[in-house]
C-alpha cells in the first residue's frame, strides 16, 4: 500500500513537472553593474521580472575602481554577459573590439529615434560610436564646481567666476585661518580624475584636441595647459587638500574646513542631505569658473553585448530590459533622480514635478539648467582609455610638483598622437 502511494505521488510530481515547462524556457539575463545602490538596482530588476514573466535577471556587481578590469576579463574569457553598465570613455574601445553591439541590432529603429529626441546632446554623443547608438542612459550628469555658501558669505567673498577668482578667494580664506580651502579628489586610478580636469579646462573654454583628433593641449595658451598650471600653483601654495574618493569629500566638507571642490553633481545631494550631514543646506553649485563656464557632461548607460545581440531570443529579452530601465516613461531614471540625486539624460525629466520638487531641496535648478546647457561631451576614441591610463599619473605628478606642467603636457600630447597614428593605421 505504501509503495503504491509513493508511486502515485511520484507520478503526480512528474506530471506537474511536465505541465510547467515555462520555467525551463525562462531566459536569465546576466546584468553586470558597478556596486552603486545595489538595493535599488535589485528592486528595479525585481519590478522588471514581475512585469516580464519568463525573463529573469541575474545581477553581478563590481566595485567602481575594478569595473573596467573586470569587464575586460569577462569579455576576454567569454563569461556570459548580456547587459552592462557602459561608460562614455570605454565605449569606443569595447565597441571597436566587438564586445558591444549597437542598439539597432536589438531594437526597432523607430523606437530608438523616438527615444533619441528626448536625450541631452552631450549624453547622446557619449553613447554614440561611429554614428551608431550603443546605449540608453542609466544616468547622465555634469562635473560641477561646488562651494560652501556660508563660508563665502561670512568671509565676504562673492561666488568665483574665474579660476583667478577661486585662487584669490582660497588665499583670502587661508589667510583667515582655513588650512586648505580647496578639497580635491586626487586618485589617479579613477577615470574621473581626468574627467574632472577636463571639466575645469572646459570652464576656460579649452579644446584639447583639434578636428583631426590631434592633441593641442600642450600649447601654453591652451586652457587645459593653463588649468594644470593653476592646479600646480594651488598645490604649491598649500591651498589644496587631497582626498582619495568623493565619498570622503562629502563628510570632510561637512566639517566646515573646506570651501570648494569639483565633483560629480550627485555629490551635492549627499552634501545637502539633512538626515546625515551636519552642514546640509550650506552647499551650492556654481557654474564652472572660467570664460565660458562650460563643463564636462557625461553619460553612463545600459549597453548590450554583441553575443547577446546575435541570439534573437536573448536580444529580445535584453531590449525589453533596457527599455524598462531607460525607456519611456523614464520611471527608473526618475527614481534614480528623486531618490539618489543621480542626473539624467532624458530632457523631459527637467520639467517633471516630482524631480523638480525633490531636486529643489538640494540644488538650484536654474543654475543646474544653465550648467547642463553649457555642458560639452568629451573626446572619446578607441585609444582614449589607454591614453587616459598613461596620462593620469602624469597629471597627478604635475599637480603636486613632481614634474613640470610643460613636460607633462608635452609627454601627454606625444603619447596621444602616437596612439592616434597607431590606431588610424
Amino acid at each position: 500500500m505504501k509503495i503504491r502511494n509513493l508511486l502515485v505521488a511520484a507520478a503526480l510530481a512528474a506530471a506537474g513537472a511536465v505541465a510547467q515547462p515555462a520555467a525551463a524556457d525562462d531566459i536569465t539575463l546576466q546584468f553586470v553593474v558597478w556596486n552603486y545602490s545595489l538595493d535599488v538596482v535589485q528592486d528595479n530588476v525585481a519590478k522588471f521580472e514581475a512585469a516580464n514573466p519568463g525573463i529573469k535577471v541575474n545581477v553581478t556587481d563590481y566595485t567602481w575602481p575594478d569595473y573596467q578590469d573586470s569587464l575586460t576579463l569577462r569579455f576576454r574569457a567569454n563569461t556570459p554577459t548580456d547587459v552592462i553598465y557602459g561608460g562614455q570613455d570605454w565605449l569606443p574601445a569595447w565597441a571597436a573590439a566587438g564586445y558591444l553591439a549597437p542598439l539597432d541590432k536589438i531594437a526597432p529603429e523607430s523606437e530608438l529615434d523616438e527615444l533619441k529626441k528626448d536625450i541631452a546632446g552631450f549624453a547622446l554623443s557619449d553613447m554614440t560610436f561611429k554614428g551608431k547608438l550603443y546605449g540608453l542612459p542609466y544616468y547622465a550628469d555634469t562635473i560641477s564646481f561646488l562651494y560652501n555658501k556660508k563660508i563665502l558669505a561670512d568671509a565676504g567673498i562673492p561666488v568665483p567666476q574665474t579660476w583667478d577668482d577661486v585662487m584669490a578667494a582660497a588665499e583670502k580664506l587661508k589667510a583667515g585661518g582655513m588650512q586648505h580651502p580647496f578639497i580635491y579628489e586626487y586618485n589617479q586610478t579613477l577615470p574621473n580624475f581626468f574627467d574632472a580636469f577636463v571639466a575645469q579646462a572646459y570652464g576656460r573654454g579649452a579644446t584639447l584636441f583639434d578636428a583631426d583628433q590631434k592633441a593641442v593641449f600642450d600649447d601654453p595658451s591652451n586652457g587645459a595647459y593653463q588649468q594644470l598650471q593653476w592646479l600646480a600653483d594651488a598645490w604649491k601654495k598649500d591651498l589644496v587638500e587631497s582626498s582619495v574618493h568623493e565619498s570622503k569629500i562629502v563628510p570632510a566638507m561637512n566639517t566646515g574646513k573646506y570651501a570648494f571642490s569639483v565633483l560629480y553633481n550627485y555629490n551635492l545631494a549627499a552634501l545637502n542631505d539633512a538626515g546625515s550631514q551636519p552642514l546640509a543646506g550650506q552647499f551650492a553649485l556654481a557654474p564652472m569658473p572660467g570664460k565660458t563656464h562650460a563643463t564636462l557632461g557625461f553619460s553612463k548607460f545600459y549597453a548590450v553585448t554583441s553575443k547577446t545581440a546575435a541570439d534573437p531570443a536573448r536580444a529580445a529579452a535584453a531590449w525589453k530590459f533596457i527599455d524598462f530601465m531607460a525607456g519611456k516613461p523614464y520611471t527608473v531614471a526618475k527614481r534614480w533622480a528623486v531618490e539618489k540625486g543621480l542626473g539624467f539624460g532624458e530632457l523631459p525629466l527637467f520639467s517633471d514635478p516630482d524631480v523638480v520638487n525633490a531636486w529643489g531641496k538640494w540644488i538650484d535648478m536654474t543654475t543646474l539648467k544653465q550648467q547642463a546647457a553649457t555642458a560639452r561631451a568629451g573626446t572619446w576614441t578607441e585609444w582614449g582609455s589607454v591614453w587616459s591610463a598613461y596620462f593620469r599619473p602624469l597629471l597627478a605628478k604635475a599637480m603636486v610638483g613632481q614634474e613640470s606642467v610643460d613636460q607633462v603636457m608635452k609627454d601627454g600630447a606625444n603619447r596621444w598622437n602616437e596612439l592616434r597614428a597607431q590606431f588610424v593605421k
Binding site: Q188, E241, V400, Q402
Partner: protein, 308 residues
Amino acid sequence: MPASPAPICSGWIANSMWTANRYPGLWLLPALLPVALLTIYPVASALWTSLHQVMLLLPGEPFVGFQNYQRVLTSDYFTAALVNSLLFTLVSAPSVVVLGVLIALFLKRRFFGSQVVRSVVLLPWVLPGAISAVLWMWVFNPAFGILDWALRGLHLIRDPIPWLSSPQLAPVAVIVAHVWTQIPFAVVLTMTALAAINAETLEAAAIDCRSSFKRFRYVVLPEIRSMVVVLLVYNALIAFTSYDLVYAMTGGGPGTATTLLSFEIWNESFSMYDFGAGSAVAFIVVAVSAALIIAITRALPSDLFASE
C-alpha cells in the same frame, strides 16, 4: 632463517612491474599533473603572450619577439617602478623580520594577558589586503585620521600631514601598512623556532650570562637563524610582488611615487589593454625575484642549513 627480516612489501609487490623505482614518473603523475595544470600551463601561456602582440584593441596576435620587453624596459614608468619595488623590498623585508623577531621574543614571556596580546598580534594576518588598506587609509587620512589627530594632540604638528598624497610620504605610508600586515606570520614562525630551542641550553645561558642581549646574540640567534633567513627570503618575495595593499591605498601614486612593478603588470594589461606588455613585465618581475633570492642565499654562510 634469513640473515635479515624480509621487507614488509616483499613478494608480489616487490617483484611486480609497478615498483616505484622502475616507473618513478608514473608514480609522480598524480602530483605532477596538478602542478603542470596550475603552474606550467599559465607560465607557458604568459611566456607566449609576452612574445606576441596581444592588444585587446588591435586585431590578430602576431609574433613580435622581444619587442614587448624592449618597449616595457624603455617606457617612462619602468625605471621608477623598478626603483620603487627594490626600495620597498629592501626596507620592508628586513623591517618585518626584525620586528617579527622582537615581538616573538616579547610574546614568549608569560605575563598577565599574554594570551590576549598574542591573539591581537595575529589579527592583521586574518585581514584581507584590501581591508587592511582601507583601515590604513583612515589612519593616514589628513581630515579624520587617528595619526594626525594624535600628532596634533601631542603638539608635534599644527597642519595636517598629507600622508598619501605627498610623493615623499606616500612610500613611507605604504611601507608601514605593508609591514604591519606581514608581521604576524614572522611572529608565528619565529615563535615556533624559539620553542624548538633546548630549554636546558637556555637555562645554562641564563646562568652563564646576565646580559640578555648577549644571550640573544650568542645563544638564541644561532638557533633561529635558519628561520630568520627563510623569513627574509619569503618577505623579500612578498614585498617585491606586493600589489593589493598599495593599489588600494595610493593607486601607485601620487604620480609614480608608489608605483611598483607588480602594479605595472596590472596597468599594462588592464588599463592599457596590452596583455603582451603586461606579461613581459611579469617575466621581468620573475627574473628580478630569482636574482634577489640567489643574491640573498649567496650572501649567507654555506653551512647555514648543514646541521639541520
